[in-house]
Amino acid sequence: MSATTYGWLVLAFPLAGTVVISLLYRRLPGRTAGWIGTAAIGLSFLASVGALLALLDHPHEERQLVSSLYDYASTAGVDGQLSILIDPLSVFMMLVVSGVSALIHLYSVSYLASDRGYSRFFAYLNFFVFSMLLLVEAGNFLMLIVGWAFVGAASYLLISFWYRRTTATGAGIKAFVINVIGDVGLVLGTYFIFKHVGTLDFLATFERVPDEFSTNQGDLVAGCVLLLVGAFAKSAQIPLHTWLPDAMEGPTPVSALIHAATMVTAGVYLIARMHPLFEQAPAAADVGAVVGCLTLIVAATIGLAATDLKRVIAYSTMSQIGYMIMGVSAGAYAAGLFHLMTHAFFKALLFMAAGSLIGAMAGVQSLDRMSGFRRAMPFTFGCFVIGGLALAGVPPFSGFFSKDEILLLVGERGGWHWILYVVGYIGAFLTAVYTFRMIFRAFLGEPVDEARELEQGHVHHADVPRNPANDEEEDTDVGFPGPEHHIAERAGEMRGAMAVLAVGAVVAGVLQVPGTTHVIESFLEPTFAESRLFEAETSTGLTVLGLVLGTVLGLGGIAVAYRLWVQRPDAPARIRERLSAPYRLFANKWYFDELYDAAIVRPGAALGRFAQETFERVFVDRALIGGATGIVRAGSSAVRSAQTGFLRYYAALLLLGLTGLALYFLLVS
């Protein structure tokens, strides 16, 4: 079969999974929906492998294949087609997305086993994977926008999965609104580009870009910046990042899949795919690099002060995506995408392990209440350590190589990119600190009651289920989490998925060691063939400096965390007192939420109130509608007065009319 046929199959399996589970959701007993969903994504992964092999059969220059299934509209100069583009970049993304998704589906089979909404979850999850695959396989702007929008919708559905929790529904709406801002940016950006290029197809667009646009031409820069707005919203970069921490209200597999491995990487994919546009508009690319850098440092500082387990990991995601965005904006495409892949592995692993830990805590997510789980949950602890080492960038784990490659190429750009280089390494140090702060606080130290219970072989259950965010009472019926909590030590599916990801987190680094192996880079080369920045030369000196610096900072961060949270447990409190102002800034997430509330939400609400009370009530209701009905009533009452009810009046009117008619006819003739 050809590569494009495999491409369509990759899309077809998750879609079939969604449809089957949605239609049969009442009749699927037990965990059947889970296995159907996992099988669908598993088949999709196999089809992705098939696509890879089929693509590799083609000679190196001919590895960009387009297949169109249906012509929506080819009128008025707009060519809207249902087409996919199979080239190394899309196959790379397909493999990452379907592979990690399959493992997360496997994890969810047992993680959500007692939830009343089990089948609904897998239907949504399959739909999400379908949308994400559509996004990465899109062959023209139309399908990209469709996939983008579907992914946003799936994210909303999954964040507010436990829909009877008001915190969850609020978070879902917040995520959706910010996503829509991104959608607007994406569509407007497409328009600006389409205006000059005249086609929606990717390959045709990229061909025409050098001819239609001069470097940094106004429309192109505007279009690229708008595309960046879309990327920032989807990838949770500043200033459109406030939805990501709240999105942790969704179940942990959702956080693992959507908000670590796949959806938030859509922005990175977008910039990489649109690289001809960004290279022709370096101003926009610079904006992307600066924002990515800013995000990575801000998120790292917030991670230092956050106390909710999942939110620490969420901020680490934001920070790592900042690295990726900075990388692909600065031209380090292969490095950025490689970091995307390794990040998918270790971040999904971290979230899965976090899910297991939260299960042991019976739903509580606060780090303040977790301690000493090392003996009770050895497997989870091991996964946390592996994921943490990869995240902190310690060799030989994969995160080290990918992060290092990005920073190397950014530094290689020279000029003001040195600032990004320095900030990137500061961020790496902070990453190691907060990651191991989290691990040491949760696993070392005195075991809490839940840990002691687990050591005796009994998973803790709360008497009254409570919302971990605001301590409201709940029940375990549909719309709330199920009564049972699953941990990795007890569930084989969870262990299997986490083990595969742990292996990936450890060994994937060999694919692209800076200066040595180039598997990713050479695979992706056909996509970036005409890029000026792709195959940048790296000096050996800088490479070695980067490797050494990365190792030192990573290990140094772990050491600092060990000293502060294990050896001297009272030290963090003292530091907090001395640096209380920065601490409050970080703990309040740099006040972004408060800023948006004051600048946007409140004026919006005030405008709405004004519109309803003043404008609607006075103007529309009284003046427009009241006026219109008043005129009609006045007119009809004027006419009504002719219906007096007196027979003689009617007769007189008849007579009058007859006379008039006769007069008229007489005069006419």
């Binding site: 007189a652 007579l655 006769a662 007069l663 007489l666």
Partner: protein
């Protein structure tokens, strides 16, 4: 000779007409109309339409007017002056009637139709005879004939429906209230109930049939 007869008949017709309009007592008005009808029959005879004249006397003056007399005797025509709710009608009505008269005269007499100056078509012995009427009815105007008979049936049934009594003797205290004597919204229910509700609760703006 014919002219003299014509003038007598015409005078009688017009006098009867004026009598119908002007006489206060309804009974006298009916009698005036009877006179008018007989004069009209005379005019028909002058126009050689014997059958129609006979029908006029027998059907109209005979049956219909007798019906009128019955009803006037039952209902009784009170003397009511022409004191309408608007005096304007008293002036406007005759005025427009005069205008209409003028127009009609101009229309018919001034139309330039030569034939009305003559005495009509040539003498035809069968003209106006029952034989001719019957033949026309049953051949050329058969449909009109049948529809007219149907119309008579409808009118007869309608009259019976209108004037029948609902229950018992309709004297003394009327007790036509239904078991469901609940207040009804305006303009609903049968005409009897609407009429009753108007009387029972007093007329008012309730019956205005509002929005």
């Amino acid at each position: 000779m014919a002219e003299v007869l014509f003038f007598i008949a015409a005078t009688g017709a017009i006098a009867g007409a004026i009598g119908v309009v002007a006489l206060r007592n309804a009974f006298y008005a009916v009698l005036a109309l009877v006179g008018h009808l007989l004069s009209l029959a005379a005019l028909f005879l002058l126009l050689r339409s014997e059958f129609v004249a006979a029908a006029q006397v027998v059907v109209y003056a005979g049956a219909v007017m007798v019906l009128y007399v019955f009803v006037v005797a039952y209902v009784g025509g009170e003397d009511m002056p022409i004191r309408g709710t608007a005096a304007g009608l008293r002036i406007v009505a005759p005025l427009f009637a005069v205008v209409l008269l003028v127009e009609l005269c101009i229309a018919t007499l001034g139309s330039g139709l030569k034939a009305i100056d003559g005495e009509g078509a040539g003498f035809d012995p069968a003209f106006g005879s029952p034989a001719q009427i019957g033949e026309l009815f049953l051949t050329k105007f058969l449909l009109a004939f049948e529809i007219a008979s149907f119309l008579l049936l409808v009118a007869a049934v309608g009259a019976v429906m209108l004037a029948r009594r609902r229950r018992g003797l309709d004297e003394g205290d009327r007790d036509d209230s239904t078991p469901l004597d609940i207040p009804r919204p305006a303009l609903t229910g049968t005409m009897a109930e609407a009429v009753h509700s108007g009387e029972a609760t007093g007329r008012g703006d309730r019956d205005r049939g509002g929005w």
